[in-house]
């Protein structure tokens, strides 16, 4: 059986902007697959190609074994698509929106109820409220229900959590995990790096190019250089001190600590910890604490970004 999604060497240009530049990956049936990257990376362009709304300039794509250019009508009846901007009708009620989306696909809310239930039950008490009177989190649940009501075989969610607070984001990903259990294939994009770990596999996308595709843990494990976290004392001053260290490759603030990457790939990590600790203590940071850490997906994304296009990153060291 062919993969649920197959993208091969896809290129898409808009005037002089290359939105997608030789993009290739596959997503398997039943997989929760993430497209992770900032605004302007090409996420929405990719989703529009996969949902047959635009065609690629070069390369090919298939969804459920169907060609995204030739088989567009067959694909459209079998995918659920939640665009980045909510596509709800503001002056229709919750239930009217749902009935409308069901009727477009020639089905009914009753037939789709079992699939949408885990999400829809949370907003069902407000079924007669107009969509424009819902909170952001409830609109999101309604949009997801509308994308699911015709029982698609694959779901495309374009930045469902953008602008949503940290609590609602967690809840949304919990819902996706429930939907995945029903066997649905889900392709979801996000600019939030911390959401990558909720996916089975991710494609990291930056400036129209794929930086890497794999399980999030596998990507992190490939981090090629010693990575250390430094804490204690004035963080802003310590940032400058660490960047002045002769073997510094990159130094970035990271939550409550600073992440320091050493340029010496083969050095003994514990020796670097000792060396860096001594250096900080000597340079005005007597309380500095340094420890070796494992990279997370955001460390990896930044490293791959610098490798891919160092000149694009103004002022980064």
């Amino acid at each position: 059986m062919r993969p649920a999604v197959e993208v091969a060497s896809v290129v898409k240009r808009f005037d002089e902007v290359t939105a997608l530049n030789d993009v290739s990956f596959t997503a398997d049936h039943g997989e929760l697959f993430g497209i992770v990257g900032p605004d302007g990376a090409g996420k929405t362009t990719l989703f529009r190609i996969l949902t047959t709304l635009i065609v690629p300039d070069a390369g090919s794509g298939s969804v459920l074994g169907l060609d995204v250019v030739r088989d567009l009508w067959q694909i459209r009846s079998r995918v659920g698509y939640m665009p980045g901007r909510f596509s709800l009708y503001p002056d229709l009620s919750v239930i009217e929106n749902l009935e409308f989306f069901a009727s477009v696909f020639g089905t009914t809310v009753e037939k789709g109820y079992e699939l949408i239930a885990p999400v829809y039950r949370q907003i069902e008490p407000f079924r007669d409220r107009r969509a424009d009177a819902l909170s952001g989190g409830m609109k999101q649940k309604l949009a997801l229900s509308c994308a699911l009501v015709h029982r698609p075989d694959i779901l495309f969610l374009d930045e469902p959590t953008t602008g949503v607070d940290a609590v609602s984001r967690r809840e949304f990903w919990d819902q996706l995990a429930v939907l995945k259990k029903s066997g649905l294939t889900i392709v979801v994009s996000t600019p939030y790096m911390d959401e990558a770990i909720r996916c089975d596999r991710v494609a990291l996308l930056q400036a129209g190019r794929i930086l890497d595709v794999d399980r999030p843990a596998a990507i992190s494990e490939r981090y090629p250089l010693p990575l250390l976290a430094a804490t204690g004392g004035d963080r802003h001053r310590m940032l400058a001190t660490l960047r002045a260290f002769p073997n510094a490759h990159a130094v970035f603030p990271f939550g409550e600590s600073l992440h320091y990457t050493d340029r010496r790939a083969d050095a003994e990590p514990n020796a670097i910890v000792a060396e860096l600790t001594a250096y900080l203590h000597q340079h005005g940071h007597p309380d500095a604490n340094v420890r070796l850490i494992a990279a997370d997906i955001e460390d990896s994304f930044m490293h791959l970004m610098m490798e891919a296009a160092p000149s694009d990153i103004a002022g980064a060291t």
């Binding site: 990257g37 900032p38 605004d39 302007g40 990376a41 407000f126 009177a133 819902l134 909170s135 952001g136 989190g137 409830m138 953008t162 602008g163 949503v164 607070d165 940290a166 609590v167 609602s168 984001r169 967690r170 809840e171 600019p191 939030y192 790096m193 930056q206 963080r235 802003h236 940032l239 970035f252 603030p253 990271f254 939550g255 409550e256 955001e298 994304f301 930044m302 970004m305 610098m306 694009d312 990153i313 103004a314 002022g315 980064a316």
Partner: protein, 253 residues
Amino acid sequence: MTAAAVAEKPKAIVARELTRKFGEFVAVDHITFDVAAGEVFGFLGANGAGKTTAIKMLIGLLAPTGGEARVAGFDVATQTEAIRRNIGYMSQRFSLYEDLTVNENISLYGGIYGLSDKQIAERGERMRKSLDLPNELVGRLPLGWKQKLAFSVALLHEPQIVFLDEPTGGVDPITRRQFWEMIYAAAARGTTVFVTTHYMDEAEYCDRISIMVDGRIAALGTPAELKQQWNVRSVDDVFVRLARPAAVEEGKE
């Protein structure tokens, strides 16, 4: 910055029982807090918690229905003109003109803020140098550069306080960090920074943070104090514990 350290410093923002009602609905419910001059203050809360309403009052766009607040020493209810001259503001969505060049945007905002031609020329030059920006149409710049430019333009008239409303949404992780280095640099020059964000790691970069829940300030302190108080490892965990009850029973905002 601990509460004691804040108490000793001059204040950029003083809010006392600040309240805003819309009919029966209390969007901001008697909030009281100080922000010290030169502080980086993170203003957090779930969607619909009342952050935007509170910010609108602090920048003089919306009159309080109760309580009071002073920003840069001016009363938010009666001295809104003076407040606007003394603050900078950058919104979540990009606030520059896409079909004007970098220089044209700088001239336009400089003029709006009442700077002289000489000031505009000097500060514009300094800004372009430090940002290393080409004089392109702003619409052609990558998002990260636009956001850095918008921040610099918000500082053009050298305000005492700058309000940043989700300045890094959707920005790549490296540019996001560079943006925060610009925030630190502004704070080091004495500018007070009042910032909202949905990135909880950024909350850790603030001197102090407040977390709004249902119109009230449910927590206020340094990131370390809050983590200790709730006995959790990250600000994200503090946020989830506080905001969860509100999020569960959300009906409208």
